[in-house]
């Protein structure tokens, strides 16, 4: 009896183990089928990322956090100034000695230190075009890799096909490389895609005016004066106060060469925009978001004080 009991126990435990392994295998099989099908369906989705599917909406918060980490790196680990109920007590003084709070930026050759965080941010939230723009800006400018910037913007374009800002940024980078043909294609796309669902406000109009100005200058360089005049006229419709544009149109219509040559206008405009975008708008006592290079936070400042274009 004991043997038969033992036999039943042995058989029972063996069967149990076998059924346990079988059920585990079935679970894994079902899970792998589910993952495979979800991955296949994801390839047709905007994100195309399994990680993004797992994280869900959390990825946007994470992406934003990574972007802010990049901003923190740009400021060498110094966070934004916040309002405090008291300052300069014993512990705060010690902490100030341990963790500097000077408002400084990364040196030029160190700007690439931000890139890992920006790369991760774009991976997590490919629909955040601003992160792509900031990353491409720094890749092209300080890291000296416009080729990588164009690659990145092409990746952004796949995820955000009709966003004019990506094309405008591509146009700027091509202009800096004096690839006027590629710049013209990108700027045409930017003008066609504008406003890409954004409200018609001063910022977006400024972007359209920038694209039109660059495109007009390329037309001038190519000798297509009529096209250039048409584009400049459109700028005047957007910003009637731009007298220098009106003067340029008059000069072109009368066959005179404008005093400020087209190539010079392009160079000066690009330099002005770069200086605007690299201006840090973080002020002590005020909380402001964004890494330098992100113009849209500047709000009022955008669109003012462009260089002369005649």
């Amino acid at each position: 009896m004991a043997g038969s009991v033992t036999g039943r126990t042995v058989i029972g435990s063996g069967t149990t183990a076998f059924l346990g392994v079988l059920s585990l295998w079935c679970c894994v099989f079902i899970l792998s089928c589910g993952l495979s099908s979800s991955h296949a369906s994801l390839s047709g989705t905007k994100t195309g990322s399994v990680a993004a599917a797992f994280l869900g909406e959390t990825r946007m918060a994470l992406s934003g956090n990574l972007y802010m980490t990049a901003d923190l790196y740009f400021h060498r680990g110094v966070g934004h100034t916040v309002n405090l109920a008291f300052r300069n007590d014993f512990f705060q003084r010690l902490k100030g000695s341990a963790s500097p709070s000077l408002h400084t930026h990364l040196a030029r050759y160190d700007v690439s230190e931000m890139m890992p965080w920006l790369r991760l941010a774009t991976r997590l939230n490919p629909q955040d075009v601003e992160t792509y723009l900031v990353t491409a800006f720094w890749l092209a400018k300080e890291s000296g890799r416009p080729d990588l910037a164009i690659e990145l913007l092409t990746e952004a374009q796949v995820e955000n096909p009709f966003d004019y800002r990506i094309q405008l940024e591509k146009g700027r980078i091509h202009l800096k490389q004096k690839n006027y043909h590629a710049a013209a294609d990108a700027l045409d796309a930017a003008i066609a895609f504008w406003p890409s669902g954004f409200p018609d406000n001063r910022d977006t109009r400024f972007d359209r005016a920038s694209a039109l100005l660059y495109r007009a200058m390329i037309d001038e360089l190519s000798g297509e004066t009529d096209s250039a005049v048409a584009r400049l006229s459109e700028i005047v419709q957007l910003f009637p106060e731009r007298q220098e544009i009106r003067l340029r149109i008059d000069a072109l219509r009368s066959g005179r060469q404008p005093s400020h040559l087209a190539a010079g206008v392009i160079t000066d405009s690009l330099a002005f925009e770069d200086s605007e975008r690299t201006t840090c708008h973080r002020e002590d006592g005020h909380e402001q978001e964004g890494t330098a290079g992100h113009r849209h936070e500047t709000g009022e400042q955008a669109g003012d004080g462009e260089p002369h274009s005649d």
Binding site: A85, F91, L94, S97, A98, S99, E113, L148
Partner: protein, 263 residues
């Protein structure tokens, strides 16, 4: 002193037999390797994110290890019954407390040193460098903070079982890390009782943020001035001594009953 060192050495031997330290070291190594293998647009030479993440992980691991190692020592002795032969020896309860603390602190500090060495090795392998003086200061202050954590966990373990002591230690040290530095910010919009409660918390809990030199090391600010450095060391020493004193007061008159389960 010999007795204290002997007690500390026994703890060392026990820790070397366990796999905790090796697991954490391997985990840290794996994480660092993963970080350096990230393809960042094909660019090379970036090391700050590796050092920053590495040091953050070192702090987290050091924190976890400190609490777990120190919170279980006394309850474990009691649960196994080894507390009786220990106290039967010519060793005072104060020496038991100090010996256990010294053993736990040196073990955790050594593990942290191994973490730092691994991080520095990875940074050097990418042809970058960290300021050695700032790094040394960062490690010493880190070790000072671990001394405080170990002494706090040891204090709780004199009267609680290891699980409760660990939990309470994690909660209090976690709040000290995350909440205490932000209390001046919270107080801007608070009044009355909540404000008083927060101020009490601000002054009661340890300030671990003053021990944190990661920003200086990672972002190349150079070493901190020596005067505030020694002030922080003194602050850590005072806190550690205070917690050990409380632990001794809680332990010295504790009655141990055979058969009582402490874990």
């Amino acid at each position: 002193m010999i007795r204290i060192l002997s007690l500390a050495w026994v703890l060392w031997l026990a820790m070397l037999r366990k796999k905790d330290l090796y697991v954490l070291l391997i985990l840290l190594g794996a994480l660092l390797v993963t970080l350096v293998s990230i393809n960042v647009f094909g660019l090379s030479g970036m090391t700050r994110y590796v050092a920053d993440t590495g040091f953050l992980i070192a702090w987290v691991f050091g924190w976890i290890l400190s609490v777990l190692v120190s919170a279980r020592e006394l309850p474990l002795e009691q649960a196994r019954g080894t507390i009786y032969p220990l106290l039967a020896k010519p060793v005072t309860r104060a020496e038991v407390i100090v010996g256990k603390w010294l053993g736990a602190w040196t073990v955790v500090s050594a593990a942290t040193l191994a973490f730092y060495a691994l991080i520095v090795a990875v940074v050097l392998s990418r042809h970058a460098r960290l300021d050695p003086v700032a790094l040394a200061q960062a490690y010493l202050l880190h070790a000072a903070s671990l001394a405080v954590i170990v002494s706090l966990a040891m204090l709780f373990s004199t009267r609680l079982n290891s699980d409760a002591a660990s939990t309470l230690s994690f909660v209090i040290t976690g709040a000290s890390f995350l909440v205490v530095p932000r209390i001046p910010e919270f107080l801007v919009s608070l009044e009355g009782f909540p404000a008083y409660a927060l101020m009490l918390t601000y002054h009661l809990l340890p300030h671990f943020d003053v021990f944190d030199l990661r920003q200086r090391v990672v972002h190349d600010f150079g070493p901190m001035d020596w005067a505030p450095f020694w002030q922080v060391i003194l602050y850590g020493s005072v806190l550690t001594t205070f917690f050990l004193l409380l632990a001794w007061m809680a332990f010295r008159n504790k009655r141990f009953v055979r058969g009582e389960l402490s874990q």
